[in-house]
């Protein structure tokens, strides 16, 4: 389906390209001699973990390097010219006409002070490709093809007046206005909810196919790239691991590393029956200030020593539910019963002992650890604060906790900026463990991490639960993570609980409508998944 067998002419040929970046007083290699070929009308998927050099390579395909980076070798030939040798001025003529770029965060890429239509045609207009009227007409036609609502009028709106998915589609339309030969999509759907993602993926795919535009599709999600790409190239540490046709790559990847890219999907926790309940939330309502209700009549039960996963899209109220449980946002109504006792609604009214028993781990370890504190201070503070541990015992306890999270004493004097993403999240886990809690609330703790690191963190959490009998509330939007860790699942939508039950019951039909939509929107590894889902 996705690969037409017509012989296609070579559009862009990158040979042995090397790029270096400047940091810490020295040049470090980012891309180490990578080849990349793309034919006219072909979609190439570029996949790898963060730091693999995907974005740098994607931008290099246009002959562009970010500030503080430089080409150090190789060639990029496009229409008989070597882009690495062209002057800035010659390259600027190509950018926005022959090449265009769709960034990850459309919300950040649009100027809030101009209407969508003006921004859509801006670059084509500045290159004098067509008259303004023709461009505007073409843009409206593209909006229609992108299935935006009211294609004639939506262009007069400002970026904040449309939704995230619509903005991402407008950005794709913007990239198409100049009828480019090559579009680079840099994680265009990563910031979107799964149900929105399906639509954006479908429109991007159809428009690229219709206009026979070549594209480089950069993502870390193999299931997404399987829907979009004819061929997939896997990168790691600035080198190519393997290149293959999509079907072949999925069926039989040559490299072990490629398999590890869907590592989380291979963990499956056996559902365990509940015994008694540690936390019971009854009829909770909550709102920010005098605004609209964010939580409506929520009931959630957390069994002792088990994991309850709360799933839902952004804005469904999952994080607000966590804030209500911790007391940061006191509920306006309802009860929180913890270990058989009613907890005061407000944080300031809870005792130190109440606070100790419920700990929280955040999505982004970068903002949840004080950048000026060392690992010793970060992990040690709860020890001192709750348990009064001081002196030699203090350092011993910190090292013991570090061992528990599979790190060692060599980390004790490091600052957060000296740790990798996965290590940071482990330190956050250790900080929560130091309080010796009974319940840990994990708010999207693996969302910002690479697949293989996610797998490590999830395994660690599972092991700790087995050893220490801790209960987890696991907030996530990722169904694969839920399958890996949960015993029970709560599905939330627009501030209400859609259903709660054992994992196997929630994931097997019959489903309520919303659960069905949510589950069916999760991309699968099968390249025909998107086609199949659109037919339904």
């Amino acid at each position: 389906m996705s690969t037409s067998k017509k012989s296609r002419s070579l559009l862009l040929d990158i040979r042995n390209i090397s790029i270096e970046g400047y940091s810490d007083e020295a040049w470090h290699p980012i891309i180490k001699g990578v080849d990349l070929q793309i034919n006219r009308g072909e979609v190439l998927g570029l996949i790898g973990e963060s730091g693999a050099g995907k974005s740098t390579l994607g931008l290099a395909a246009m002959g562009f390097v970010r500030a503080g980076c430089r080409f150090t070798g190789g060639s990029i030939s496009f229409e008989g010219k070597d882009l690495t040798k062209l002057s800035e001025k010659e390259k600027q003529k190509l950018w926005g006409t022959k090449f265009s770029y769709v960034a990850q965060s459309a919300a950040a890429a649009f100027n809030p002070a101009h209407t969508l239509l003006n921004q859509t045609i801006e670059s084509s207009l500045s290159h004098n490709l067509e008259t303004k009227e023709t461009l505007q007409k073409n843009a409206v036609q593209l909006y229609r093809e992108m299935q935006l609502p009211n294609p004639e009028e939506i262009g007069d709106r400002y970026p904040h007046q449309v939704s995230g998915g619509q903005l991402q589609r407008t950005m794709t339309a913007m990239a198409m206005t100049s009828k480019p030969d090559l579009i680079i999509f840099d994680e265009p759907t990563t910031a979107l909810d799964v149900t929105t993602q399906v639509n954006v993926l479908a429109t991007i795919r159809s428009i690229v196919k219709e206009h026979q535009t070549a594209a480089i599709y950069i993502t870390h999600d193999l299931a997404v790239v399987a829907q979009m790409a004819d061929r997939i190239q896997v990168l790691r540490y600035g080198e190519t691991i393997e290149v293959a046709e999509t079907n072949q790559m999925l069926k039989s990847p040559n490299q072990e590393y490629t398999k590890s890219l869907w590592a989380v999907r291979s963990i499956q926790k056996k559902t365990q029956k509940k015994e008694d309940t540690i936390l019971k939330i009854e009829n909770i309502d909550a709102s920010y200030g005098s605004g609209p209700m964010v939580l409506k009549n929520i009931d959630i039960n957390v069994p002792t020593g088990r994991t309850v996963a709360i799933v839902g899209e952004s804005g469904s109220g999952k994080s607000t539910a966590a804030r209500s449980i911790t007391g940061l946002l006191p509920p306006t109504n309802g009860k929180i019963i913890f270990q058989g006792r009613k907890l005061p609604a407000r944080l300031s009214e809870r005792s130190k002992e109440d606070l100790r028993r419920i700990q929280m781990i955040y999505q982004s370890p970068d903002t949840s650890m004080n950048p000026r504190h060392t690992v010793r201070d970060i992990i040690g503070r709860p020890l001192k604060f709750y348990h009064g541990v001081v002196g030699n015992r203090y350092t011993e306890k910190v090292i013991e906790l570090l061992r528990m999270i599979e790190l060692d004493e060599s980390f004790i004097d490091r600052l957060p900026e000296e740790l990798s993403g996965g290590q940071k999240q482990r330190i956050c886990i250790a900080r929560a463990l130091a309080a010796e809690p009974d319940l840990i609330i994990c708010d999207e703790v693996t969302s910002a991490l690479d697949q293989i690191v996610q797998e490590g963190i999830l395994k660690l959490l599972l092991r700790l639960q087995k050893e220490l009998k801790i209960s987890y509330i696991f907030i996530t939007h990722d169904i694969a993570t839920v399958k890996a860790i949960a015993d029970e699942v709560v599905v939330m939508h627009q501030g209400s609980v859609v259903e709660q039950g054992l994992k196997k019951d929630i994931f097997s039909p019959p489903h309520p409508d919303y659960t069905k939509l949510l589950l069916s929107s999760v991309p699968e590894m099968d390249p025909k998944w998107l086609t199949r889902i659109l037919k339904q």
Partner: protein, 307 residues
Amino acid sequence: MSNASNQYSAKNEVSNVYVRRTIFQRSLIALSKAPFTAWLGMIIVSSYFFVAIFAPYLAPYGEAQIFKVPYAPWDSVHIFGTDRLGRDILSRLIYGARNTMGIALTTTFLAFLIGVGFGLLSAILRGWVDQILARFVDILMAIPSLIFALMLLSIFGSTALNLILIIAVLDSTRVFRLARAVGMNVVVMEYVEAARLRGEKISWIMGREILPNILPPLVAEFGLRFCYVFLMIASLSFLGVGIQPPTADWGSMVRDTGELIQFAAYDVTAAMTPILPAAAIGILTIGVNFVVDWFLYLTSGLKDEHQ
């Protein structure tokens, strides 16, 4: 399962790990790249401090010691001559560094203690505490501070202690605004929320969680504030309500010898006498600004964009 995940180990995970450097190493690197103006500023400031600290050993005479000849010309006995009471100008300049800078430094510290304390309190507590403090500061700032200080000093009397307290309170309003603004950016971070969830006291959140993260702009502001306080003290002394005689001070020295400037046609060196303390004030202000500019450039993160 796969080999890759069997080999995985959290300890060996690498990403953009920074090279660990001690503060000493980092300062050395920063110093080696410091521009000429920064060096000039540092030399000026450190020599002023040197003079201030070792004033009794450097000054040829005492600060209040009176000689027989008032308005003595510049010669080998009194290098910059004497003032109208017959006090040695050079000695008074040297002691003036100690007095003016000492009072200015104490005042600035006090202003920061008050300003940062209330500013962070405002940022953390928000709500009505913030409203009351911020509005009170607005009122104080609406009144021209030199005139306000003059008025308060006339009411309470111009002792060194009053001078320090009044200027510190008036100047803390500017510090309050800065501390509140930069503090607000840090208060919303999740590590502050984590500290709250832990049940930490407000003093811990202020001192240990927020303060270390807003130190660079505060240090830069400290340099600038020091200049303003210093100028304000000099202005007040010039007007006669600042540092009182016989204590030597540059502001009052300008006033005392000011009329000599009209004799420029007859004796150039005599006319230079009031310029000396004025220049001492001016050069220190410029020196501090050079250092602060460089420090701001280093810590604001602007430098990456200029490369």
